[in-house]
């Protein structure tokens, strides 16, 4: 192991971190909206809408992300005239937006199940109590159901965000030069696969470490009722006298 080389590699790979984070967070943000819609569709109680959401989750959770990226990027590339007529080609022309779309559709499917689990775990007595207090509709959802559901879903959702950070490495196959793409390019120039991939792995670890800490902080902030109450320090100095 050549540490000066690895340090140099680390510095070069860092230039790919903004794109990695950009892809991960943009798609998680769009994906969260999609997931919320899908979860509400699943729980709507209307058979047709439920079926649509179920089918969507089945397809996007059941196929590899790599295949989805290929289909969206190279597959839709074959239908350029149709897409141009629809005015969608400016979107699909760019590898960045194709990557965002694939990642969003994918995380939407996974996260919708996480959100559904959170919403369904809200204890019914609490909803009933809220109703008895005169809350209903959006107010009930905003004040009671949503805060409890978010607390329940957050640990699983944190995993999903971490999975998305790692999933961005697949964007390198459609020419996006994020951390993995840069690593592959550096290997082709130096042929030192082990050192470069070790450094790339360390970068992902650092990113995901930061993300897990942020999510833990969010969990702590959202669950004041689980924290230990501040206790008064017993006076032990007196014993030494």
């Amino acid at each position: 192991m050549d540490f000066t080389f690895m340090w140099e590699t680390f510095r070069q790979l860092l230039t790919g971190v903004p794109l990695t984070l950009n892809l991960a967070f943009t798609s998680v943000a769009f994906g969260a909206v999609l997931a919320m819609m899908l979860a509400l569709m699943r729980m709507s109680g209307i058979a047709v809408i439920e079926m649509i959401a179920k089918a969507y989750v089945f397809v996007f959770r059941g196929t590899p992300l790599l295949v989805q990226i290929f289909l969206i990027y190279y597959g839709l590339g074959q239908f350029r005239p149709t897409l141009q007529e629809l005015g969608l080609w400016t979107f699909f022309r760019e590898p960045y937006w194709c990557a965002i779309l694939a990642l969003t559709l994918n995380t939407g499917a996974y996260a919708s199940e996480i959100i559904r689990g959170g919403l369904q775990s809200v204890p019914y007595p609490q909803v009933e109590a809220a109703k008895a207090a005169g809350m209903s509709g959006f107010l009930l959802f905003r004040r009671i159901v949503f805060p409890i559901a978010v607390r329940q879903a957050l640990p699983a959702y944190g995993s999903e965000i971490i999975l998305m950070v790692k999933a961005t490495s697949l964007a390198s196959i459609i020419t996006m030069m994020e951390v993995t793409g840069l690593a592959a390019k550096m290997i082709s120039q130096t042929f030192r696969a082990v050192e470069i991939f070790v450094v790339a792995g360390v970068i992902y670890l650092i990113l995901n470490f930061a993300i897990t800490r942020l999510i833990m902080a969010l969990e702590w902030w959202l669950s004041p009722h689980l924290r230990r109450p501040p206790s008064i320090e017993p006076r032990i100095e007196a014993a030494h006298v």
Binding site: G181, S188, F191
Partner: protein, 281 residues
Amino acid sequence: MNLFKALTLALLGSTLAIGGASAQGKTVKIATEGAYAPWNFTGAGGKLEGFEIDLANDLCGRMKVQCEIVAQDWDGIIPALNAKKYDAIMAGMSITDDRKKVIDFAGPYANSPNGFLVAKNSPLAKMPGTGEAFNLGTQTAAAEKAIDAVKPLLKGKTIGVQGSTIHSNFADKYLKGTAEVREYKSTEAHDLDLSAGRIDAVLADATAIIGTLEKPEFKDYVLVGPSIVGGLLGSGVGVGMRKEDQELKKSFDTAIQAAIKDGTVKKLSLKWFQIDTTPLS
């Protein structure tokens, strides 16, 4: 403790014996990419075909060894050779100084220039220097002048190259800052994106471009630009092998020389490329 030692030694001995036997070159495992038509590609039946597959079989016959040809992704092809996953590479790999630092080459068995693949109706189709040939190694000034002449036309365009190739090195050195360069995993991938209109031109080996032009969906495309060889584009295509395998290198070199001399290389080259890519010796 003693038993353990004896066992370890016995195991070590047998491993060495097996390793030694394969180093004699009874079976030579050759890696190719399988996605670089017409050099090497996966045919309709799922079998590897192409110029290098035919040539490899011919060379193995001359060396009187059994050969096994395996497919390996391009961007890991050199690290996997040094990790002993196979013994040689025949994958349209140009002999360059950078690669020579980590592996050795037998040959060359082919030499072909690069070029741009563009749509016939694109402004790039009128690229200056088309039909002219330069050697970047020996006529550096003239070749660089020809490259500079092309630059104004490429300003603001997007060019696709295969990553980890002499073409991506060429693009990095001469075209970065002028055009946007996108790196693809295979030539098939950048061809698809050219036909989809995501990129304006492909920079690749002329033989690979000729192979692409044979496909019906590329009938409205054309090969343009100056033909450049040498310099950072390397000195022809050779068989890559580990530095310590000097025996294997020697037998490949002899076989390649024989195949060039009796016209086999020329015959195969005309069969697959329609042009003669036999290196000048």
